[in-house]
């Protein structure tokens, strides 16, 4: 892998680290498998890109992209909580609706940002660093700050109550925690992070595209699983940061697989590689515990 390719991998790894933290909040904290993210990633990118092209301030555009994605999360939560639609199905409905909404927001399938100012423009050429390195540092700072904020939040009384909702609803209620409120906030936070990732992705890569969100959920899950199997910890700080590390490792694994000539993969094989990697990451902990159990048996017998 060339340095150039490696920097690109890092950059995308950090951006999807935000997705991973969002996915961690829904899947692991709230126990609410939320597929909305496939749509809200694109929504964040689409809103931001459209506003930038329309001449709006880049920070304002990024903020609105993030908020729009949060609203998508709220919609999913509403469908689930108000009408008792199964969480998975509610999120699939929102995701499907978002596909159209994203096309409407952009007015076309693809918005280019190549010649536009982006959130990175003010930092270009700072400390004489090449743009490629600057981009990586910029998204890394974003991802790490987001991770620390989320970890802090989950350690607060409010955040702990949210964790209780995902762990044992009945207990949460018996202790006066309003379950619905925590689910709304959690989904808004999660999708907001994913929307922010989409907004950053559009600006660092120079485009927003109606199909860019496909598979976001799987990538996010892969990052969470890889991160958690490498750094088994109960500390929210470690977990949040391990989401980012997991995301980067996942990207590195994918680009190694794609770049290894002897494997003969093409860029279009990406989704198969992703699925296999996620499956391996899911299977590995189980195999390890089975193997350990067998060893223990051997020792005793």
């Amino acid at each position: 892998m060339s340095v150039f390719a490696f920097l690109g991998t890092l950059e995308i790894g950090f951006i999807y680290g935000l997705v991973a933290i969002g996915v961690y909040i829904t899947f692991r904290i709230l126990d609410f498998p939320d597929l909305t993210v496939d749509g809200s990633f694109t929504l964040g990118a689409a809103v931001t890109a459209t506003l930038i092209v329309a001449g709006q301030n880049v920070f304002f555009a990024t903020l609105l992209g993030t908020l729009a994605a949060s609203c998508a999360g709220l919609l999913t939560a509403w469908l689930n909580l108000r009408f008792n639609i199964l969480h998975l199905l509610a999120s699939i409905l929102t995701m499907t609706a978002l596909y159209t909404i994203n096309l409407r927001v952009m007015g076309k399938p693809n918005v280019a940002l190549i010649m536009e100012p982006t959130i990175l423009t003010p930092f270009e050429g700072m400390f004489g660093l090449p743009d490629m390195v600057m981009k990586v540092i910029f998204v890394a700072i974003f991802a790490v700050i987001a991770a620390l904020l989320v970890a802090w939040f989950l350690n607060t009384q409010y955040g702990l109550a949210m964790r209780a909702v995902g762990s044992n609803k009945r207990m949460a209620q018996a202790n006066g925690i309003v379950v619905t409120e925590k689910v709304y906030i959690g989904l808004a936070l999660s999708n907001g992070l994913v929307g922010l990732a989409g907004a950053l992705f559009a600006q660092t890569n120079g485009f927003a595209d109606s199909t860019m969100g496909i598979g976001t959920i799987v990538v996010g899950l892969a990052a969470v699983i890889i991160g958690q199997s490498l750094f088994a910890s109960r500390s929210m700080w470690v977990i949040a940061l391990s989401c980012i590390v997991g995301s980067i490792l996942y990207r590195v694994a994918v680009s190694l697989a794609l770049n290894a000539d002897f494997l003969g993969f093409k860029a279009s094989d990406l989704n198969l590689i992703t699925a296999v990697l996620v499956a391996l990451a899911l299977v590995f902990p189980k195999l390890r515990s089975e193997w350990k159990a067998k060893q223990a048996e051997g020792n005793n017998g």
Binding site: Q157, L160, R163, N175, I177
Partner: protein, 267 residues
């Protein structure tokens, strides 16, 4: 004080499976009284408890805590006054949170969670001190996952948690039923201690007539959604399990045989 006025609860209203779980329960529990509630399966004991807690909406009737009408208040809104311990040791705590995290949740019961850290050393000291009362060595396991504790240990912690935040009412729903006899006795001991110490108004649902007579100062029996007798004072002091059984048979004028052997096993 808890006051229930003509409380009705109907499940599956209008369906072939319609069940009249409570059929006009009038019950007043003065502050500081410990009432035990007995009755066979399906008598409405748990329904009554869950209706008071707010998990089940009453079809008719009213519930008051003191002078406050709480009939329309959801369960979460009642937690300022009510602490609960469930029958299932797994229900009262979060298995994948640590002991101290669970206790912190209970410590904030009925208050709005803020953005302050949920745990700090001052709180840990309080939790440690409370846990040491159990003599189970749990004070050294503050950061263990709750799921790693045994059922009895979890129930003990649930019980402590119910007393962390001042409340006026404690609802115990067969909270020793899922435990072995030794642990059950321990849990019952700690319950009595906490209740005496905090002068709580208590309603304890139990399957065991022995337990119902040995604890508290008043015993109420439910049958088919109604209170069929209400014992207290001297009269109650002279009662034995067999007297309760006789009373139960008398009250059931349909002359049905007692079909629930749990009721007969007075342990």
């Amino acid at each position: 004080m808890i006051r229930c006025n003509n409380l009705h609860v109907t499940f599956n209203h209008g369906l072939p499976t319609e069940k009249l779980a409570l059929r006009g329960v009038d019950l007043t529990i003065p502050s500081g009284e410990f009432v035990t509630v007995i009755g066979s399966n399906g008598a409405g004991k748990s329904t009554l408890l869950n209706t008071i807690a707010g998990d089940i909406k009453s079809t008719r009737g009213e519930i008051f805590f003191g002078e406050r009408n709480v009939t329309k208040l959801p369960a979460t809104g009642r937690t300022k006054d009510i602490a609960r311990v469930f029958q299932d040791p797994l229900a009262g705590t979060c298995g994948d949170l640590t002991v101290e995290e669970n206790m912190s949740l209970a410590y904030g019961r009925g208050k709005r969670g803020t953005l302050a850290f949920a745990l700090n050393n001052k709180l840990r000291a309080v939790f440690k001190e409370q846990l040491s009362r159990l003599n189970l060595g749990l004070e050294d396991r503050l950061d263990s996952e709750m799921g790693l504790l045994s059922g009895g240990q979890r129930q003990s912690v649930s019980l402590l948690m119910s007393a962390l935040q001042p409340s006026s009412i404690l609802l115990l729903d067969e909270h020793t039923a899922a435990l072995d006899p030794k642990t059950a006795a321990l849990i019952m001991d700690i319950s009595s201690q906490i209740i005496a110490e905090k002068q709580l108004t208590v309603m304890m649902v139990t399957h065991s007539m022995r337990q119902a007579l040995d604890h508290g100062s008043r015993t109420v029996m439910l049958h088919e959604g109604k209170i069929i007798f209400d014992l207290e004072g001297k009269e109650r002091a002279n009662y034995e399990v067999k007297d309760l059984l006789n009373l139960f048979a008398q009250a059931r004028n349909d002359g049905e045989e007692l079909d629930d052997d749990k009721l007969l096993l007075g342990s």
